[in-house]
Symmetry: C2
Subunit: 473 residues, 2 copies
Amino acid sequence: MKSTWRRYYSHENFESHKRMYVKFSDQRPPCLPSWHTKIVTVESKYPSIGWGGSTLSSDHALMATDLVCVEMIRRQSKYFIKTLMQSLCLVILVCMAPYARPFLLPSTSSSSPSSLVAPLKGAHRDLNPHSTASSSSRTPSTSHGSNLSSSSPTSTFDTFASFITAIQREIIQTIETEDGTDVKFLCDEWERDGGRSHGATCVLEGGAFIEKGAVSISIIQGKLSAERAASMSARGRDLGDCSQGDVPYAAAALSLVLHSANPHLPTFRSDVRYFECQGKGWFGGGADLTPYYLHDGDIVAFHALYRGLCDAFDEKKALFPKYKKWCDSYFFLPGRQEHRGTGGIFFDDLEALEGGGEEAGEEAGEEGVERARMFTEAVARSFMPSYLPLVRRRRDQLFDERQKQWMLLRRGRYLEFNLLYDRGVKFGLAGGRFESVMVSAPPMAAWKYNHTPEEGSEEARLLAILKTPRDWV
Amino acid sequence: MKSTWRRYYSHENFESHKRMYVKFSDQRPPCLPSWHTKIVTVESKYPSIGWGGSTLSSDHALMATDLVCVEMIRRQSKYFIKTLMQSLCLVILVCMAPYARPFLLPSTSSSSPSSLVAPLKGAHRDLNPHSTASSSSRTPSTSHGSNLSSSSPTSTFDTFASFITAIQREIIQTIETEDGTDVKFLCDEWERDGGRSHGATCVLEGGAFIEKGAVSISIIQGKLSAERAASMSARGRDLGDCSQGDVPYAAAALSLVLHSANPHLPTFRSDVRYFECQGKGWFGGGADLTPYYLHDGDIVAFHALYRGLCDAFDEKKALFPKYKKWCDSYFFLPGRQEHRGTGGIFFDDLEALEGGGEEAGEEAGEEGVERARMFTEAVARSFMPSYLPLVRRRRDQLFDERQKQWMLLRRGRYLEFNLLYDRGVKFGLAGGRFESVMVSAPPMAAWKYNHTPEEGSEEARLLAILKTPRDWV
């Protein structure tokens, strides 16, 4: 009869987050019913201190603490030292980020496991704005059925479409590797008009750290209705003839929504998109976090990464502040006077990016367009490097029923924004692929009338920051 | 050591809905932990056959069946006879409804407990369109601060506002009595512009059969912005000068949303409203069910009641078919090609109701307006009589985790309709009382990508009817 130490939630310690260690044998105690044996199968990840990090529902925990002998162990010094070292590394990383950005991403990737390396292929070249090398993913490919189009997409469109197709696969692979369980993405591939429009909605449900996530692409060539044209622009973009309706257009977009399972891990939303019409093209994209509990270091690191990326493309370092502000003002619920999350970056209507980082006007040269595409692709390559460190830090952090409930209420706000205000959703719904749009909905959400968190609580601290956005870096 | 029989969910019998009876003593068995004693406190409601009808979560049930001795008992003949008699009564009621309507409501109320009588005070007089008696609730009262208004509301407005204020109280009382627990409505009274606009948002959370419900009124006098005017009309109502914006108007509305706790009990939504502007007034209202599982008899009885009510006001019996169709076409999710529920009635823009039941045109006389108000008030008086019989039949029906999950998914659709398409929500949000509008949101909802129920299942049968609405009576 083998005896092991395992860590569980403790009902009595929900509030203070103290850790408890439950000792019981692998052989089922006489009054523990058979379905409890699944507790016993939790693997110990940290043999040095011997606890299993899996999240158990409060019911299981209650059972464990009620039914078996319980003992408490003080955090071991080893664990403290490890935590201290991690925090130090984080601080150094954050401080260095703005200066070291052009070199940072590849070097981060070299110290990361292979799953993280995948989406960074070619990132170095693309991140360095002076590079002219063309990676394989950027080689213009024949567009899917472009010969059928009355207004053929440009090579910029084809290149971008190939890029998002490739990086979608890479991101999916990275997440599945990180998940480490048998849960996989289910991909719904679709096409319309004999393949002129196609895409893939890939969904993961019930993952180890993602409760529900979607990584989707759509590559569309068609005629723009006036209704969809109206739902396109972020700030009244001058679409010119495009807004008249019945004009050929092409659009390609990659979008991610990862609804986390753990309230300590924020929900991650991001996208990159390109829209082309009447010989003109516009890039857009962004990435932002919707946290449920504020771990300031996580949010700072996330912003630092995107600041570094923006600064690498902009000598005057004006891109990041502009895009951060744009993100805050876009993800805003006017009815509640609340921002949806802690922000990130958001940009739209990007026609070209000149050498100094400034956006060019009407007479944007081809080089500027190329730089805009490179910037947008670099943003997409940063999605996983910006989120995975948080995943690793937070996926196994303990939480209780009250915290999960708060997460569900905040997810309600997420959905309110999506259905009431998000232009992407309006554009998507007008196009008719309802399930592909609603895939961004959280797996579960709650509403409670006039819920107000306790003064001085962690929940109230989050709300205060959502009411008045903070510049994190 | 007293020994009692109690009924519980059986884990093994979730699918077939067989009932199991668990026998255990009131004294805690040795291996049952202390928090299980709450199972023991469930009261037996039907001493004749000795089972407790309370719904237990699957976890508790699992515990009970796993931990204590389990025995199965066949349904007793007494229970069968009772069910048979109930079904017979229902069939007779449904068949008689169209003919006996003018007398049915009062006679129903006389056989109902006192909680049901309350909202029916004066219903008989109001239901009989030839009556000219004026009940106390119809005596014009001084409107709340009407002397401050630049365009004083008419006595029709004042009468209607008094009516909804009174019936809100009665409905709340009825529901609380029916609930029978300590859970009560919490009322948020509000006022604006020195009392010219006021209302009360009353919310019940965690009731015995209502998981979350709201019974709210708002009585508003103000200036209509062009934005709110645009969100008012159901079918491009000719608002005339009112739609120009900055025009004085008055509005009074009562709205109910009762999200049921049991998937066998439909969610009930209903409202009545009156809008007045530039000397003209329009009534509107409706009541409809959003079921999760179809119990045809329940839906038929619900429709029969409203058909009877409509027919009492309309010799040609054309009102009900028109309003049922309107309900189906209004509560429709175009993106999913699905109706939200099984319908009921919905009407808007009702200026006057002539003797024959036809709606009058421009030259509607005062009598027509009075009849329109009486009809609208009769609809409001029918809310509880149409829903409570269902509550009594379904509140204690057993359900399992799978059925609850289906309910959460359907509630997701409910919310989609509210946020994407409901004009009432748009009108409310433009007015700025966000929490009062979002109070209609379900307590909890779920989204799953491309969820399709099994062919031939009860869930598939519901979906088929939501795709092609049925005329129930």
